[in-house]
Amino acid sequence: MDVSELKVTADLANIELGEEEFASLGREVEKMLDYFSKMMETDGMSLPSGPGRRAANRTRPDAVSGDADPDSLLENAPELEDRFIVIPNVL
């Protein structure tokens, strides 16, 4: 994989990497891509299941479950103000 492509990918994923890391990661990503292309050679369509080939759709009824505990979730927030989660300004 071309290093410039890898840099774009890292940038999109918000990951900062050094030149050395790019070099080693490049080889690893190459391996992954080889593995993907091998997978693409297989005939996936003949498999018995997969998206769109299920016996029935999986949906849930439109009902409020009411089992969530919002307050305990908010405890994990770094800072709160009147129930709002406070973070540094992001525009």
Binding site: V8, L12, N14, P51, G52, R54, N57, R58, T59, R60, P61, D62, A63, V64, S65, G66, D67, A68, P70, L73, L74, E81, D82, R83, F84, I85, V86, I87, P88, N89, V90, L91
Partner: protein, 472 residues
């Protein structure tokens, strides 16, 4: 000569009880971060589950907008980093949205234009962010609200067409009961895109406009933007491809961000959600969710009830009013009279009292009764208006009101003759003038008798009796 190309992206929040991929309450205006759970807050290890009603309502909209309905609606992850979406991706649709290739007709300036709908897809809404000084406040109540996006092709030319499309669309979704279409609260939102080019040269460089909180602003922003772009081209300049914001205080669009390259959202299939495959039973259910849409109803009202276009427009604007009107007509009231009463007298009272027809003391049966009392001659026009006021004030049937108040029309000839005599005696001068050939005071004499009977006397009978007594 320039040509402009306008397209819209409309987002509507679907009226469901719960969110699209979790069981949290879907409601506007609650205290911040009360309708949240690990799924919509993006905690690791959770699994989304598709809301059956949300997908059904989505297909209803696709059907109503004449779309080809996808035999397989696939969900994808749209990756972006912004704190309004704690998962760092939004579950949306990309490769196989639920509806494609629809259309909506827009009538403007005597012409009807068919605006193509590129696609309709279901996604989750993001949370709300408030920027305050050096911090941002996050509320995830809205995160995970079912959001339907409707994307049109750039088929419109004028801001007015976009405004009409939005108004018609809003009416349609309200008829279907899928969204309340409240642009101020944000349950319906719209971004517009517009480009200008020399005629015959195809699309120009596209500018997106955001922050459009009403259909009127959409029109104003587009027309402003078309003018701005023409001016740039006139001077030999190039329009910059960018996103602009509508500034409603200054009535101009302003640069928000310049797009250097198209976003790369790295869409990939959502592994936690199987594709939705509508079967025959589901599609039948979707069909049952359809109702007669506003445009068809307008046409039928003109044809079947003989009302004029303006009255039809008024009557069909809200489904509740149209249903009410048809109920009144079905109860035997004259359709023309019913339309006019709803359009003027009833509307006046509703506006004054700042209330809706639904839930008001005026039921279809009461309006039909009032109109029947009027057409049967038991009350006349002026009294009928008083009766209508009394229905609202006292929440009683019109028949009961006129009995209680003694408002029934006086049409007893002997009783009226006595009143006429009294009026002539009291107004000898006017009577003499009429006799001498001046017809003007006749109206005055009728008025005196009407006044004496608080408007209950049958005016035609009064006039005839007066003429008879005065020998004219």
């Amino acid at each position: 000569m320039y040509q402009s190309f306008i397209g819209l992206e409309i987002h509507i929040q679907l009226l469901t009880e719960s969110k699209v991929f979790c069981g949290c309450t879907n409601r506007f205006g609650d205290e911040p971060n009360t309708n949240v759970c690990p799924v919509c807050m993006g905690y690791p290890g959770v699994l989304p589950a598709l809301n059956a009603q949300a997908i059904r309502l989505s297909y209803v909209v696709a059907r109503a907008l004449n779309c080809e309905m996808s035999p397989q609606a696939v969900f994808e992850r749209k990756n972006y980093f912004y704190p309004d979406m704690p998962k760092n991706y939004q579950i949306s649709q990309f490769s196989s949205p639920l509806g494609r290739n629809g259309w909506i007709d827009v009538a403007y300036n005597g012409k009807t234009r068919r605006v193509r709908i590129h696609e309709i897809h279901l996604e989750e809404d993001a949370g709300k962010m408030i920027h305050a000084g050096d911090m941002s406040l996050l509320d995830y109540n809205r995160a995970g609200t079912p959001l339907l996006e409707i994307v049109t092709e750039p088929d419109m030319e004028f801001g007015e067409e976009a405004e009409i499309l939005l108004q018609d669309f809003r009416r349609t979704i309200r008829y279907l009961g899928v969204c309340d279409g409240n642009m101020e609260e944000g349950s319906m939102r719209c971004d517009a895109n517009v480009s200008v080019n020399l005629e015959g040269r195809g699309l120009g460089r596209k500018v997106e406009i955001k922050n459009l909180n009403s259909s009127r602003f959409v029109k104003m922003a587009l027309n402003y933007e078309i003018g701005r772009q023409k001016e740039i081209l006139d001077k030999g300049g190039k329009v910059v491809q960018e996103t602009r914001l509508w500034n409603e205080n200054r009535d101009v669009t302003e640069t928000m961000r310049t797009k250097e390259s198209a976003h790369d959202y790295r869409y990939f299939p959502e592994p936690d959600l199987p594709a939705f495959v509508p079967d025959a039973e589901f599609l039948a259910q979707v069909d049952r969710g359809l109702v007669e849409l506003p445009a068809a109803r307008r046409e039928r009202f003109v044809k079947d009830y003989g009302v004029n276009e303006a009255a039809a427009d008024f009557l069909i604007n809200e489904k509740g009013t149209a249903d009410f009107y048809e109920e009144v007509a079905a109860l035997g009231a004259d359709p023309g009279a019913a339309a006019s009463w709803l359009q003027f007298d009833v509307r006046k009272i509703l506006n004054r009292e700042n209330r809706e027809l639904a839930g008001s003391p005026l039921t279809a049966a009461r309006l039909a009764q009032l109109l029947s009392l009027l057409s049967g001659g038991r009350i006349h026009g002026k009294i009928a208006k008083q009766v209508l006021e009394a229905v609202f004030a006292e929440d009683k049937d019109p028949g009961l009101i006129i009995r209680e108040k003694g408002w029934e029309q006086m049409d007893d000839a002997a009783e009226l003759a006595a009143l006429v005599d009294r009026a002539l005696a009291a107004n000898a001068k006017a009577a003499a003038a009429v006799k001498a050939g001046d017809a003007k005071p006749l109206g005055f004499l009728v008025g005196q008798i009407m006044k004496a009977t608080q408007g209950r006397a049958q005016p035609q009978m009064v006039q005839e009796l007066l003429k008879e007594k005065l020998g004219i």
